[in-house]
């Protein structure tokens, strides 16, 4: 015999939460799709009207402009994709050096806020407040101006061994007339200096907050055991502070990488600057901007993954 089982009929009632949820989602997706279709249609029409072709094939064509500096020389006859690569190299160069300098200076400033000397504390606070409250663009323009005036003239450069400092930047060459083995332009120097000093102020705050977040009982236990202030800081407080500092520190590294895009304002050929030139020459705004955004998204992702990995490695072992 069949057992009597009640049939459960699906009720498509507006009162059901599941139904409403589905309706909302479908509505949202439909709206987005409509918007995208509208925008894409307009774009295609406008580009056709202006005679701009679309497609990424322009990357293989010769660029037609030179790039002043980079890990390797770039001639006008080389392809656009190589230009973007040079730009990426420039971005990475300034970002990596900036990260190292900013971390070093920022950590010192952050720890300095806990010094017993009121002068040192005041100086670190003043630095942080000053550099955090002025826009980065303005700081970069000022450093560019100061370097342009302060660097020694070409005919009387400053020398330290093989290093030469002049209005051409910092170069490493055997004699004044020889080809420099490597050269850092004044634009690079201004950008890296400005980025490092600016980001160091933010890193100082992150370090300070991390140290302050370590429970007071830890320093008390260290003191009760007879450890000196230095020993307690090095062996008990800082290792624990490091774990608290890593996520916001990652954020600052990402900010520095993104801020390097301001290079376009002082003429340093980073990837955004190259994309700007490419857009002006080919009119392919969509493609170039997609390339730039994709590059930055990859950089962000890579940095986040690296820091998450480091975070996992140093995490406190719990049950």
């Amino acid at each position: 015999m069949f057992a009597l089982t009640p049939t459960i009929r699906k009720r498509w009632s507006w009162r059901s939460r599941a139904v409403r949820g589905r309706v909302y989602q479908v509505l949202l997706l439909a709206l987005l799709a409509l918007l995208l279709w509208f925008l894409a249609g307009n774009t295609a029409r406008n580009m056709a009207q202006r005679g701009i072709q679309s497609g990424f094939d322009f990357l293989l064509q010769p660029a037609g402009f030179e790039i002043g500096e980079g890990l390797f020389d770039f001639e006008a006859s080389q392809a656009y994709w190589l230009a973007f690569l040079t730009g990426l190299g420039n971005t990475l160069r300034t970002a990596l050096i900036g990260i190292v300098l900013a971390t070093g200076l920022g950590s010192l400033l952050g720890i300095g806020r806990f010094s017993r000397s009121a002068l040192l504390r005041g100086l670190c606070s003043a630095y942080v407040e000053l550099f955090r409250n002025i826009p980065l663009l303005l700081q970069l323009l000022m450093w560019y101006l100061l370097l342009a005036e302060a660097l020694p003239p070409l005919d009387a450069p400053a020398r330290l061994g093989l290093l030469t400092l002049s209005k051409n930047g910092l170069t490493w060459q055997t004699t004044p007339e020889a080809e420099p083995l490597f050269a850092l332009s004044p634009e690079f120097l201004a950008l890296t200096l400005g980025l490092s000093l600016y980001t160091a102020a933010f890193i100082a705050e992150v370090v300070r907050a991390g140290i302050a977040a370590v429970p007071r009982g830890q320093s008390e236990a260290a003191a009760a055991l007879g450890l000196s202030r230095q020993q307690a800081l090095r062996r008990v407080v800082l290792p624990q502070a490091l774990r608290i500092i890593i996520p916001p520190l990652t954020n600052q590294y990402l900010n520095l990488t993104k801020n390097s895009s301001l290079a376009v304002a002082i003429g340093y050929p980073d990837v955004v600057s190259i994309a700007n030139t490419a857009i002006n020459q080919t009119g392919r705004a969509v493609e170039c901007l997609v390339i730039v955004m994709a590059i930055y998204l990859c950089l962000s992702l890579a940095t986040s993954l690296l820091m998450n990995g480091y975070n996992a490695r140093v995490a406190l072992k719990e049950r």
């Binding site: 017993r116 000397s117 040192l120 801020n259 705004a285």
Partner: protein
């Protein structure tokens, strides 16, 4: 061991602490050898550097707007460049005769910001006030009503433009950020995915690329025949950018609300929207107010980037004022310092206010 006789001791005030300049200095600068050495070193640096700075900036500076006087004495700062060019720096390319309008607009906006900071005014009608003042400022600057002559948006510049862009983009970004933050925590997968993609996409790219997108792509997005104002384009770009960051801050606050609050609201029969409006959001927003202030300060500084897409706000107006005039160009540094001072005053005030708000909020939590 016998029990002692007990006599209650009433509390006494603390003994007066030793005062005097030497004691104050000793406790702050010379507590031990290491500290003393540090203090002396920094003291020496300051004694070397500060007099030179004061000499350049104040004692030997030239205050009169005369190129000859400034060129004659290069050992001092030339603040005359400010006296000469301050109207272009502060107002941009706005027509000279009509500059009372951006001045009034600036005053209104600063007053609006100050009023928003005072707790007394945190009422429902504050939202209407914001909309009202911003609309008035817009009309004032644009003209074409009440007999005011029309002024195109690409002639707006300087401090009013900075304030307008910041306030307007924050005002527009806030509701969007709220929706996106709530959407990211939604149980509906499509809504959550869309919000997450938006936030991660926007936070992963620099503001410049968003501004370039606004500048180059938005005209392409418009149907044929429509042209969109450069100011509106830039405003949209900054708003979308700001909303992503604010959404993350708000989401942090939402996550900090214990689940028990939502369960209690559900037990009382409140709907999802009612719970969010009356229980979750008031607590979450109060908790993240300092974080939102940081966002505002960041947006205020980021408006300087619109220089790169040819809107001459404060930083750009400076280049405008000095690049075209070869006489005053050697004194660009003084111009930069003046603009930096303006930014510093605004941003420092906002960050102090944010610290004060944080203290106020924590006072309610300490027993």
């Amino acid at each position: 061991m016998t029990a002692q006789r007990f006599a209650p001791i009433p509390p006494r005030p603390a003994p007066a602490r030793p005062v005097g300049a030497w004691v104050w200095l000793r406790s702050r600068l010379f507590c031990d050898r290491g500290t003393a050495l540090t203090s002396l070193f920094i003291g020496a640096l300051l004694l070397y550097g500060l007099p030179q700075l004061l000499d350049w900036a104040i004692l030997r500076a030239n205050w009169r707007p005369s190129v000859e006087a400034c060129l004659a004495d290069r050992a001092g700062a030339c603040w005359g460049v400010i006296a000469e060019k301050y109207r272009i720096i502060l107002m941009g390319r706005y027509p000279f005769d009509e500059q009372w309008r951006p001045l009034l607009a600036t005053g209104l906006m600063v007053a609006l910001l100050i009023v928003s900071c005072i707790r007394l005014f945190w009422q429902r009608w504050l939202v209407l006030l914001w909309l009202g003042v911003l609309a008035t400022v817009f009309l004032l600057m644009h003209g074409q009503v009440l007999g005011l002559s029309p002024v195109d948006t690409d002639q707006w510049g300087g401090l009013p433009l900075t304030l307008l862009l910041s306030s307007l983009s924050i005002a527009l970004a806030f509701p969007l950020a709220l929706l996106v933050a709530l959407g990211r925590r939604s149980a509906l997968p499509a809504i959550r995915a869309v919000c997450t993609v938006y936030v991660e996409l926007v936070r992963g790219v620099p503001l410049i690329s968003v501004l370039f997108m606004a500048s180059f792509l938005f005209p392409l997005f418009m149907p044929q025949g429509f042209s969109i104002d450069v100011l509106l384009r830039v405003l949209t770009g900054i708003t979308l950018f700001a909303a992503a960051y604010m959404a993350e801050v708000i989401r942090g606050g939402l996550q900090a609300i214990p689940r028990g609050q939502i369960e209690a609201a559900a037990a009382l029969g409140l709907s999802w929207w009612q719970t969010q409006r009356r229980i979750v959001l008031p607590q979450a927003l109060a908790a993240v107010l300092p974080g939102l202030m940081n966002n505002f300060i960041a947006i205020f500084k980021d408006t300087s980037l619109v220089t790169i897409v040819s809107l001459y706000e404060l930083t750009g107006a400076l280049s405008l004022a000095l690049n075209s005039d070869a006489d005053w160009r050697p004194f660009k540094l003084e111009g930069y310092l003046f603009v930096a001072l303006i930014y510093f005053v605004f941003c420092f005030a906002m960050s102090r206010y944010s610290l004060w708000v944080e203290k106020q909020l924590n006072r309610g939590r300490v027993r």
